[in-house]
């Protein structure tokens, strides 16, 4: 429930980004800026490079040309400083099936100072309250995903980067996530997201259409 | 010995060493001395590879030199002296080959070649290809344009 501190300055900029994969130019001359209160949705057909761009912005992939700046400095200069300010959730949940949701969550938030009570509350919020003793392998795919998403409730980072977070969520889950994102944005945080899901009800939504460059 | 001669053949014009015995042939008249010198130079030492009597120190050359001196003292003319030696040693001893039927080509060969060459030159010039027609005005202009282009690039 902790609101993100609005005072944190979010300033992620990409300038003249060029990315090639296997001799194919995914995008070039790409300029993106993300600041406080932004929600950036990366859209485009399959293979347009949404995930690649997302991973670039998250600093997970360094195979690009152009500039990627966090607060005016190249991302890679002090990567751990940047990493501590942003949350990254790939389309893999990073949930160990042999462990319980709580045990998994503990590991997922281990970089932050989060007490077990807060984790309980977070699990409650994603409607996993009754599964403390159950190993994750007995949970459904959606539920496993919720385990991972539960950390959004406790994440102190101002910038979230999420890859297809709506996958496998049921309607309630989607609603919950939409709310979560909105609160993050309204609280002065920022979200970058890839999704085919329409996020009309968030005011500050911006969309970046990828793959249009393909002639 | 064979070998040494061959060696010298490679690099040296002549295969024998200088001889210095001019003092043996005193002449009263310097003109006679010059005649003797000239004769010795125009006669070939039969023993040597390619050396005249004056410069060779082969024994035969010494003998022949003596003979030439002797004949000169007898008052024989140059032709007589040469004839005497040719009678005994053949035309080989003359560096200046005689003008005979078989030496016509030798004496006239170069001149013939020269004349033939001149004729050929005339022929070639006659058969010269016609020069290309002068360029028309239009072609001139094009050429100029091309030249300018070449210069500017």
């Amino acid at each position: 429930m902790t609101a993100t501190s609005g005072s944190t300055i979010i300033d992620l900029q990409a300038r003249k980004l060029l990315c090639e994969r296997d001799d194919r130019v995914l995008f070039e001359q790409l300029d993106v800026a993300v600041g406080n209160g932004d929600l950036l949705q990366l859209a485009g057909p399959n293979g347009a490079g949404k995930t690649t761009l997302l991973r670039l912005l998250a600093g997970l992939n360094r195979d690009y040309e152009g500039e990627l700046l966090w607060r005016g400095e190249p991302l890679t200069d002090d990567f751990s400083a940047y990493a501590s300010q942003r949350l990254y959730q790939g389309h893999l949940a990073a949930v160990k099936k042999a462990l319980t949701p709580l045990e998994n969550l503990r590991w997922l938030v281990s970089s932050w100072n989060v007490s077990d009570d807060q984790l309980w509350a977070a699990l409650d919020e994603v409607e996993l309250g009754g599964y403390e003793e159950t190993a994750c392998q007995q949970l459904s795919a959606g539920q496993q995903r919720r385990v991972a998403l539960a950390r959004l409730c406790v994440a102190p980072t101002p910038l979230w980067i999420l890859d297809e977070p709506f996958t496998a969520l049921d309607k309630a889950g989607v609603r919950w996530l939409e709310g979560r994102l909105q609160r993050q944005v309204e609280g002065g945080g920022a979200v970058i997201i890839t999704s085919h899901h329409a996020l009309e009800n968030i005011a500050s939504l911006r969309q970046l259409e990828l793959g249009s460059t393909r002639a | 010995m064979k070998h040494i001669f061959l060696t010298l053949c490679l690099w040296f014009p002549l295969a024998a060493l200088a001889t210095v015995d001019g003092y043996k042939y005193p002449f009263d008249d310097p003109q006679d001395a010059a005649r003797f010198e000239q004769l010795a130079q125009d006669l070939r030492c039969p023993k040597c590879q390619n050396q005249n009597l004056a410069d060779s120190n082969a024994p035969v050359a010494v003998d022949l030199r003596d003979k030439v001196y002797e004949l000169m003292q007898e008052g024989q003319s140059d032709d007589e002296i040469v004839g005497y030696l040719v009678d005994r040693y053949g035309d080989f001893v003359r560096y200046n080959p005689p003008f005979r039927a078989e030496t016509v080509l030798l004496w006239f060969g170069p001149a013939l070649v020269f004349v033939f060459g001149l004729l050929l030159l005339v022929l070639i010039r006659r058969g010269q290809k016609q020069p290309p027609k002068p360029l028309s005005a239009e072609e001139q202009a094009r050429l100029q344009a091309l030249k300018n282009k070449a210069k500017s690039s």
Partner: protein
């Protein structure tokens, strides 16, 4: 709590939840060692000669068996991605992973070895050499193996490839360790070999994590 300790804890927890992960290699270790007397010659004097080598070969294979899964599961379920995203030192991470691997493979083997020594008529003098060589040598196997596991984590059916890559690097360890046991068995000094193993361990400790970290990174740049 840092992510490194959290991971160590989680992996140990996983091992505890899933005992097959470390028990199977241990069983394999025992069975391979047991195959030798059956296949070759049950004569104790002969066995005592080859005991050190056999135990070490078995330990090596057993370690190799468990290596395959070291990073693969983490790559598959996205844990590794999280790791990279966290911005924490991959060096420490690789070291931690190797440590966990040793705890669930090398350590049990080391503890189990005396039993095998009995089965294979290991000369009495050689027990300490065996235990010590395993104690010093198996971490080297884990550390080196972690490099291979990291390299092949993204490769489908990388298990075989892993063996191909890592076995040549294991051979010096095997040679020195087996030599230590053998020397001990015939009553000769074996501190030299242990020294070599120690040197290898020290080097592996500080150098292999670099290689592992680099190898892990390349699995993610997709």
């Amino acid at each position: 709590m840092s992510l490194v300790t959290a991971t160590i804890r989680r992996d140990l927890l996983l091992a505890a939840r899933n005992p097959g992960e470390w028990l199977n290699p241990l069983m394999f270790f025992l069975m391979v060692a047991a195959l030798f007397p059956l296949a070759v010659d049950p004569d104790p004097t002969f066995l005592s000669k080859i005991a050190g080598g056999v135990i070490w070969v078995a330990a090596l294979l057993a370690t190799l068996l468990s290596l395959d899964a070291l990073y693969k599961a983490d790559v598959d379920d996205g844990s590794l991605e999280q790791w990279l995203a966290s911005g924490e030192s991959l060096y420490a991470m690789s070291l931690g992973k190797a440590l966990v691997h040793w705890c669930i493979s090398g350590l049990p083997l080391t503890l189990m070895a005396p039993v095998l020594g009995l089965m294979l008529a290991l000369p009495e003098d050689a027990y300490w050499a065996l235990i010590l060589s395993l104690a010093v040598g198996t971490p080297v196997l884990s550390l080196l193996g972690a490099v291979g596991a990291a390299l092949t984590a993204g490769v489908r059916s990388g298990g075989l490839l892993l063996s191909l890559l890592i076995l040549p690097l294991y051979i010096p360890v095997l040679i020195f360790a087996a030599s230590a046991v053998y020397h001990a068995g015939i009553g000769m000094a074996w501190n030299g070999q242990i020294g070599f193993l120690g040197a290898m361990l020290a080097l592996a400790l500080c150098l292999t994590p670099f290689a592992s970290a680099a190898a892990l990174k390349l699995n993610l740049s997709r």
